[in-house]
Each structure stands twice: as structure tokens, then as C-alpha cells.
């Protein structure tokens, strides 16, 4: 007689593994695209690839949630029910923090592109208005709209521009932006013949920051992958041991305590996974 519950569970696990492999492949592809294109423009393709990966992620989560709901309906043990309910509640939170982290990373990459290109263009043209107009096309719409605000304010008084730049700095609280704002104010309102050393220093600093951020983000992604693989390995080895020990315990009391410990272990692993994921998403690579 076919055990339908077991067959469906195995099938879902199989699909999940395939989805996971697909996700790994997609992130690897995204990483190579990102490295080659982050320096100059074309951040649109990066975002497209990011969206594709997010789609894979979302599909994976939907399947996982469906699987968990299926398990919740069929489950009888109270503790296991609580664990699965927790997973269903936590998963959307993890998805949202993951998305927020990605958005923050994209914004930071855009900020670096903006500063880098501004340093080059200011050296080349010596005109703030022209440089800002050219840089708008290199960044995302979100940052682009704020830069357009700055461009519009350049026609107004110095005080107005300073106010807009302060708001811009409040929105993107990076020292590199503060320094660029000081240069912009000086070049536009005081003296357009700026010392080359300032722009060279600014360019060097942006270069260094870009290099550090890229190196660190790659390192962190590999760390996260390692962490996920280690956790999967641990769970698989534990599952293997559990299967081997099935039927060893003769008394009902020992069986119950075995089940209880098993549930506690799952709960602890879940808590640890949640903490690590939150830590990873809340501490992005910074300036």
C-alpha cells in the first residue's frame, strides 16, 4: 500500500532541493554580472537579475509555506504544531528583511557609482550642473529623483541648495556624500576653479571604498552560503541518525521523550537560523 503522506513529503523535498540548486546558480550568475558592471552604469541589468533571483526565492518560500500548511493540517503533536506555526509566521518577516537588505545594498552601490562618476565628471567638465545632469542617467530612479531635486535647486539661492543637500544627506547618511556636498557648494557658488588635489583625493577615496565594499560583500555572501550548507548538512546527518534509531526504543515513555527532544532540537535550530538571518540582514556592508 502506498504511503501518500510520505510520497508527497519526499516529492516536495525533491522540488525544494531543485529550487535551491537553481537559486544557487542564479546568485552565482548575478555575482559575476555585478562585478563586471558595477563600476559604470547599467545598474538596470543588475536589478533585473536581482528581481529574477527574488522570484526564485519567492517561489521557493511559497512552496515551503504550502508544505508547512500541509504538515500543520495533518500534524497531531502540539509542540510540532507550534514549531511549524512559528515557521509560517517567521518566513514572511525573513523575506521582507531580505528584500530590505537588498534594496539598501543597491542604494549603497548607486551612491558609490554617483560619487565615482561625479569625481570624474567634475574633473573633466568643472561644471556642477553638467556633471549632475550626466550622472542622473547612471543611477537608479530612486537616487535619480533626488539628484534631479539637487539640479533644480542649483538655479535657486545658495541657502536653498544647502537645504536640499542637507535633506539629501539626511536620506543617505554617508560621509562620502557629505564631502561631495561640500565640494559641490564650493564649485557652484564660490569658485569653479577647484584644486585638482581635492577631486583626486575624493576619487581615490571612492575607489578604495568601492573596492572594500565589493570584497566584503563577496566574502559575506560566501560566509552565508557556508552557513546554510553547514546547517543543511547538520540537519541531514541528524535526520539520518534518527532514521537509524527508529524502533530502537521499546518503552512508550522513552519514545515520548525521544519525540520531545527531537522537537526541542528543531525549535532551537529554527531560533538560531532566525537570529543569524536577522543579524545578516540588519548588518549590511557599510561605509
Amino acid at each position: 500500500m502506498i504511503n501518500w503522506s510520505l510520497t508527497i513529503t519526499t516529492l516536495i523535498i525533491f522540488v525544494l532541493i531543485i529550487m535551491f540548486c537553481w537559486w544557487l546558480f542564479a546568485t552565482k550568475k548575478m555575482k559575476t554580472e555585478k562585478i563586471s558592471k558595477v563600476r559604470w552604469q547599467d545598474s538596470l541589468s543588475y536589478i533585473n537579475s536581482g528581481t529574477r533571483t527574488q522570484l526564485v526565492f519567492s517561489a521557493m518560500y511559497i512552496i515551503l509555506i504550502m508544505f508547512l500548511f500541509f504538515k500543520i493540517i495533518t500534524i497531531t503533536d502540539k509542540l510540532n504544531y507550534i514549531i511549524l506555526a512559528c515557521i509560517v509566521i517567521i518566513v514572511p518577516y525573513i523575506i521582507s528583511t531580505n528584500k530590505k537588505r537588498k534594496q539598501k545594498e543597491i542604494v549603497f552601490t548607486d551612491i558609490i557609482i554617483y560619487c565615482h562618476n561625479m569625481a570624474l565628471l567634475l574633473k573633466q567638465t568643472g561644471n556642477v550642473y553638467l556633471s549632475l545632469n550626466k550622472v542622473v542617467d547612471d543611477v537608479n530612479d530612486l537616487l535619480g529623483a533626488d539628484i534631479k531635486n539637487i539640479i533644480n535647486s542649483l538655479e535657486a539661492s545658495k541657502l536653498e541648495t544647502e537645504k536640499i543637500l542637507m535633506q539629501f544627506n539626511y536620506k543617505y547618511p554617508y560621509t562620502i556624500i557629505k564631502n561631495l556636498n561640500a565640494i559641490l557648494i564650493h564649485m557652484h557658488y564660490e569658485n569653479d576653479q577647484i584644486n585638482d588635489a581635492v577631486l583626486n583625493t575624493f576619487y581615490d577615496d571612492t575607489e578604495r571604498l568601492n573596492k572594500d565594499v565589493k570584497e566584503n560583500s563577496i566574502k559575506r555572501k560566501s560566509l552565508r552560503l557556508q552557513y546554510i550548507l553547514i546547517t543543511i548538512g547538520c540537519l541531514l546527518s541528524y535526520w539520518f541518525l534518527l532514521n537509524q534509531l527508529e524502533g530502537v526504543f521499546t518503552s512508550d515513555m522513552m519514545n515520548d521523550s525521544f519525540k520531545f527532544i527531537n522537537s526541542i532540537y528543531l525549535l532551537l535550530t529554527l531560533i538560531v537560523l532566525f537570529i543569524v538571518d536577522c543579524y545578516f540582514n540588519n548588518n549590511i556592508t557599510r561605509e
Binding site: 564631502n179 584644486n195 581635492v198 547538520c234 530502537v248 525521544f258 532551537l268 538560531v272 543569524v276 557599510r286
Partner: protein
């Protein structure tokens, strides 16, 4: 009993002799250093007992005055003591309670000191960012103007200090005293700050030709320091992720051990 006592003393002397020989064998330099260290720690301990810097610590870390802090401190000590007394089923003696009260009362001061250390460390990590902004402005404006303008660009933590420094420089432009006052709170935490401020002072007193050379010399050092701060921040996060990653391994090892013990018990 007397024999035992004598033997104990004898053993004690035997233990002390190698230590004394080691001290004698050490160079005078090390010995004097050790004495200096002991003196330093004893002074720190006495200061900590006397709580000399309490008012400064409170004003630096909290928005409350010292009287309110003392009141909170006493209340917290009494409440914790009461909780412990009740938790231990009222079995504690009066002298034990008093000692516990004093220890908790002192812990509040130590906690305050720890908070201050943390704040100073945070400020020392922010300092390179502040210096970088000042250097950019120094490339554009004269030092005095650059320092005045930098108040709008540096992190909020330095704004008050910088504005005080700018006022003092305006009153006495040829003196290093305002710069020195800015350095003093970070003396132990950021050694290179002294050098940077000396260079800034020299720039303020020198001609235009020297300015760019001096600026480029400190710019490189500040960039390196900034890089180090950034790397250490990222390294802390990465290390934490790495350590947290070991928890599932530890959990599975513990669980496997427990299961094996259970199985061996059932057999």
C-alpha cells in the same frame, strides 16, 4: 598541629623564593615597569573607590543630573537586594545583605565607566571620518574657515567640541591650546590625533606653498586609518556570522551524544 603549621609556613617560603629570584633575575627596567604598573592600577582602584569622576561620567553618558542618578542607583541596589533576599527564602544574614548592597551599588559606577569606555571607543572610530571632512575643507578654505565650515559636515558627536575650538581659535589664532583641548579627551584612544592636529596647526600658520604638501601627507594617513576602521567593523560582523554558523554543528553534536546515551541506556 604546630608541626603542620611550621610545614605550611615552610611551604609558603618555598613558594615565595622562586618568585623573588625571578624578580631579582629580571632587569631593573622590567622590575621598575612592574612597580609602575602596580602603582598605576592601585591609583585607578583608589579612584574607582572614591568615584572621583562620577559627575563627569554622568554628564557625558546620561541626560540626568548626579542626584537623580544616585537616587536611581540606591533604589536599584535595594530592589535587587530585596529580590535576592526573597528568592533565597529570607535566609541571608544582615551583614551579607549589606555587602551585597555595597557590591551592587559599586557595580552601577563600574557600569557607568564601561558605558563611557564604549562611548569613547565609538568616538575614536568616528574620528577618521571627522578628520577626512576637515581635510577636504582644508583643501578648499584656510584652516580656520575650514574648521568653522566643518561643523556642518562632521558627525554630530563632535559638533560642540569643534564649535568651542573654532571660537577659541578666533580669539587666539597663534596658540596651539584650542587644538590641545580638542585632543585631550581622546588622548589614550587615538594616538595619531595629536599628530594630525599639529599638522593642521602648522598649516594654519604656514604659507600656501606648504599647505598642499602637508595636507597630502596627513590625507594619506587618515585614509589608511579610515580603511582600518572600516575593515575592523566589517571583520567584527563577519566573525560573528562565522561563530553563529557553528551553533548548528554544536547542537547536532550534543543531540547525537544524547541520543546515543539514550540508546545505550535502553539496550
Amino acid at each position: 598541629m604546630i608541626d603542620n603549621l611550621f610545614l605550611d609556613r615552610y611551604r609558603f617560603i618555598l613558594f615565595i623564593i622562586p618568585f623573588l629570584i625571578m624578580l631579582l633575575l629580571l632587569e631593573n627596567h622590567y622590575a621598575s615597569n612592574m612597580i609602575k604598573q602596580i602603582k598605576k592600577y592601585s591609583i585607578a582602584m583608589i579612584n574607582s573607590i572614591q568615584e572621583k569622576s562620577l559627575n563627569d561620567l554622568i554628564s557625558a553618558n546620561f541626560m540626568i543630573n548626579s542626584d537623580t542618578f544616585q537616587l536611581i542607583r540606591i533604589l536599584v541596589s535595594i530592589i535587587i537586594c530585596l529580590c535576592v533576599w526573597l528568592a533565597l527564602d529570607k535566609k541571608l544574614l544582615v551583614w551579607q545583605l549589606i555587602i551585597m548592597l555595597i557590591i551592587i551599588y559599586k557595580f552601577c559606577y563600574l557600569y557607568l565607566k564601561m558605558l563611557d569606555q564604549k562611548r569613547k571607543k565609538h568616538l575614536s572610530t568616528l574620528m577618521p571620518y571627522c578628520l577626512k571632512s576637515i581635510i577636504y575643507l582644508c583643501y578648499i578654505y584656510p584652516v580656520n574657515n575650514a574648521l568653522a565650515k566643518s561643523i556642518n559636515y562632521v558627525p554630530d558627536e563632535f559638533k560642540d567640541q569643534l564649535s568651542t575650538m573654532v571660537n577659541e581659535i578666533d580669539n587666539n589664532p597663534t596658540s596651539f591650546q584650542p587644538y590641545q583641548r580638542f585632543i585631550d579627551p581622546y588622548q589614550g584612544k587615538m594616538v595619531t590625533l595629536n599628530m594630525y592636529m599639529h599638522v593642521l596647526f602648522r598649516i594654519s600658520q604656514s604659507s600656501d606653498n606648504e599647505t598642499s604638501k602637508l595636507l597630502s601627507s596627513i590625507n594619506q594617513s587618515v585614509s589608511d586609518e579610515l580603511n582600518m576602521v572600516r575593515c575592523s567593523k566589517n571583520k567584527t560582523i563577519n566573525d560573528t556570522i562565522q561563530y553563529l554558523g557553528l551553533i548548528p554543528v554544536i547542537l547536532v553534536t550534543l543531540m547525537m551524544g544524547y541520543l546515543l546515551v539514550m540508546v545505550s541506556g535502553s539496550i
